[in-house]
Symmetry: C2
Subunit: 275 residues, 2 copies
Amino acid sequence: MTKTIAIQGIKGSFHHIVSLNYYGSTQHVKECLTFDETVASLFNNTAETAIMALENSIAGSILPNYALIDNNNLHIVGEHYLDVQHQLMALSNQTIADIKEVHSHPMALLQCKSFFKDYPHIKLVEDKDTADVARKIETQQIKGVAAIASTLAAEIFNLDILAESIQTIKHNQTRFAIVNTQPINNHKNEINKASLKFELDHKRGSLATILNVMSDCKLNLTKIQSLPKIETPWKYSFFVDVTFEAYEDFEKAASIMTIMATHFKILGTYKNAKL
Amino acid sequence: MTKTIAIQGIKGSFHHIVSLNYYGSTQHVKECLTFDETVASLFNNTAETAIMALENSIAGSILPNYALIDNNNLHIVGEHYLDVQHQLMALSNQTIADIKEVHSHPMALLQCKSFFKDYPHIKLVEDKDTADVARKIETQQIKGVAAIASTLAAEIFNLDILAESIQTIKHNQTRFAIVNTQPINNHKNEINKASLKFELDHKRGSLATILNVMSDCKLNLTKIQSLPKIETPWKYSFFVDVTFEAYEDFEKAASIMTIMATHFKILGTYKNAKL
């Protein structure tokens, strides 16, 4: 059955690449220009599933996307890791000296900032989507403006790559979540990872106690991030990812954590995509 | 004795406000346009101390600044919390309808993105510093361009505020670190907070074990953030902040953690600025 997958960005964006890698090329893709729109697609039934970047190895967690998943009670049903390589591209027959402005997504500009230190004549301008800039450059035949986007975008929009892999940190792995409004009834033996959220009072040892439960139940921690609750001093939220071998171990830990932590919530259970 | 304090940004920037709040107005300020330059000032002796944003309640940790502190073996000698309020400002006698572009620091643009949904005619352009845009608008008398900056910047550069507190999340607390190349010999009874970094193997329960030590030594965890080590699969780094009542408790915990964790490092010990 063909699904419609909401992606942030247009075809050629990194979210599109994740969609192709995860679901193959036979699915419909719904292009959304914001993460809010991506999530809205799930609720107005214009898409069955959505793809959202969760974190990358440079900037860390994309907390606004965690908030979108949490506040809308979405379910993470899968994950995918992509090695994001940023290419500088423009209409053909131009050199970097011809480029006056580079337009891209704020995150892409941030990740490539160092590259432009050698080109002080180039102005960096924020735009909504990496691939959409590539598209505009082609359709409007804009000279003097370059895009930072994927190799796929250069192919789709017939642009020349002026410089390859211009991001400062060459291994630039981004983790994406596949999210639905409902959990998928996967076979329990296919599930070996979970994303959790809980709150703790600022009481000495409260996190250690929870981690002891996780450890006793044979869960491995692969990510932890504390977030102070701004409106409630001395209350902390935690986003935690765990992997496990037996789903029963996870169920046991979850039942104990529900009692021990405040607002314990399973954001999703899915198959670990990291080898 | 007058100190020179390196800040990211020019006078009127949020780092300048932190410098005024923390050290008062009698100190010299060295304006730096990047965090790299801020750090370099400490090593070429053009400044004795530097101020760097570490995290905010919206985007979370500013990991590149943690990396700068860690890689340069700087010492966090103090912290300061600032409630960052972004004002939209321009030359007088203009309305928002006259504004065609808003230039600011990427983080400020990100934090105010929602405000501009109602003004699709306004283009958001990245610049190096919030206050520097305000300065340029005044010195070059640029019409049609607005800055997002502090109230102090509007005062210094005689700009009119077109819209107040335009950031999406109204409580926008940012935590700043005061950093030196050497630790300050504070009285131990004035120190009640520490920033730590350590690595752990991906072995079940390894973090729980460390947190148990911290808890047993009466340390309170106020922040934890895991970072996968990209080059070394299954190795994790952790940035952790702890508060304590007695410095001896911290010393005891540190001596145990040095043995238990890999690359245990104290990024700084200082006075907790959070009430």
